[in-house]
Amino acid sequence: MKTNFILSASLAIHAAIVAHEADIESLDRAIGDGDHYINMKRGSEVAASLYNELLPLPADEVLNKIGMKLLSTIGGASGPLFASFFMSMAKVSKQNGSDSLLEIAAAFAAGVQAIMQRGKAQIGEKTMLDVLVPVSHQFTLLAAEGKSSTEIAHALKETANQGLESTRNLIATKGRAAGLGERAIGHLDAGAKSCQVMIHTVCDLVIKGANP
């Protein structure tokens, strides 16, 4: 992955989060505590603000600095999770490189794995992982099959949609919604929604021709 791409993605993600304020906010208000949009906005804003500072740096350092900055900016449940994601992605990118799609997929998988470890959560617990895990799985699969970046981007958008939708009928066993029991059924998870938004945003960049 290229520094340029990461930073463009970061700007696009900030814009996308703000554009989805109403959705994201109302989901966390329905079965959470209502701050997820504010947290995501604060985090994506500060990441975007690092643009000039990070531009000269190699990709893995960029990812790591974004992770560190998110850690001290977001707070809440999503802060340490997204921070862990970026810091792990950075580590694997540094070790293995992230030039090929397969290497990028591996770094992404390491990021998702870090979220699972930090949050002690699995798929099916009505969290962001219900989007991230299937997307990661699909990404690795398609990259191994040698699919083009555009093909992969189209496919991952669809996977993210399905993952998000899968949270609707789950009882939450992690995060704040875990206190609600059956009352959580029928609602999408806020973190899953913001992950779907971010994945769509990055995939759209690729579809529009950006070189990851």
């Binding site: 504010i38 707070g75 704040r176 009352r183």
Partner: protein
């Protein structure tokens, strides 16, 4: 939303500045990263640090001072603070006997404190509070939430730490108090998070939220509004059942904390106290210690929680011992 604020972005800083200035004899505020410490650094003791999202005032900064906390890390409203705050606070107050974190059991708080402790160069331990009996515990979930019982844990552990007790002993007392404490909350209205600008949930004039948390999360059940005695009956029942399921004998002395969520008049809180103490007596529980007021709030939510802590001689001693903080003070 009508609140006494200027810019949403500055609410916390301005409010904390006011707090630190009003209590400058007791606490000192640091910004960037944000944390508060005692004005006079304690020596040669386990230091007690707590923290969590803002909006629960006086929790936690209001409990900084002799006999309670050494430092507190306030996050954004209802959002866990970040590890850099905890690291800076620990760095500022540690006094060679280790650091004890008191953390309310929420995914966000747990993870942020965990990441801080992974980077911490000092001996440390954590007491996770989980007194909210509204959340059914199961091996699949993250477990019960920490609510107003946290104040009792902070008071007792803070008292013990003043005696020079070591880290393991302090943690053990914290865990014990937490295990012997059970809470449940009822909301009559939602709260309004300043940055959101609107109520977190809608609720009719005829409804209440039973088993609500302290963040405006919906509770376990939406129920019909009813008389105070009927509401308190269900709360007391939930607490007593919780103790029974833990195998704790209930025919003993207890501390009863009636906690307002922010918009409930003292008149109603004392009425709840009256109702709860009577019902508890029927279960053989004798209330010999009490605390009634706004101690763990949820911004401007109307509602209250009932917390019961089963006392033993050790807990009693550490509850009664002198404390001198902005929000809790006795004996000096």
């Amino acid at each position: 939303m009508k609140k006494f604020i200027n810019q949403i972005e500055n609410v916390l800083t301005e409010s904390l500045s006011g707090f630190a200035s009003a209590h400058r004899d007791l606490v000192t505020l640091q910004l960037d990263p944000t944390y508060l410490t005692r004005s006079q650094k304690a020596q040669n003791k386990v230091v007690i640090i707590s923290g969590g999202g803002s909006g629960h005032e006086p929790l936690h900064a209001g409990y900084i001072g002799f006999g309670m906390l050494d430092a507190a890390c306030p996050g954004q409203v209802f959002t866990s603070p970040t590890p850099d705050q905890m690291l800076a606070a620990a760095e500022a107050v540690h006094a060679d006997k280790g650091v004890l974190f008191i953390v309310k059991n929420y995914a966000g708080d747990v993870m942020n404190f965990e990441m801080a402790t992974e980077m911490l160069p000092f001996e440390h331990a954590t007491v996770l509070t989980s007194d909210d009996c509204a959340v059914v515990n199961s091996t699949y979930t993250t477990g019960r939430r920490g609510v107003a019982g946290t104040v009792i844990v902070e008071k007792c552990v803070g008292s013990l730490a003043e005696t020079g007790a070591d880290l393991a002993t302090c943690k053990a007392l914290g865990d014990k108090v937490n295990a012997r404490t059970s809470s449940i909350g009822v909301a009559l209205t939602s709260c309004t998070v300043p940055a959101a600008g609107r109520a977190t949930f809608d609720i009719a004039e005829t409804e209440l939220e039973m088993g609500v948390g302290i963040h405006g999360e919906p509770g376990r059940k939406r129920e019909q509004m009813r008389k105070a005695d009927a509401i308190v009956h269900d709360c007391v029942q939930a607490i007593v059942t919780d103790f029974q399921s833990k195998g704790l004998p209930t025919n003993q002395e207890a501390l009863l904390l009636i906690n307002g969520f922010g918009a409930t008049p003292l008149m109603e809180l004392y009425l709840i106290y009256h109702s709860a103490a009577k019902l508890l007596a029927g279960h053989g529980i004798c209330v010999t210690r009490s605390l009634v007021g706004n101690y763990t709030t949820a911004l401007d939510m109307a509602g209250a929680s009932i917390t019961l802590c089963l006392l033993d001689d050790e807990i009693k001693q550490h509850w009664d011992s002198p404390v001198h903080t902005p929000a809790l003070r006795w004996g000096r």
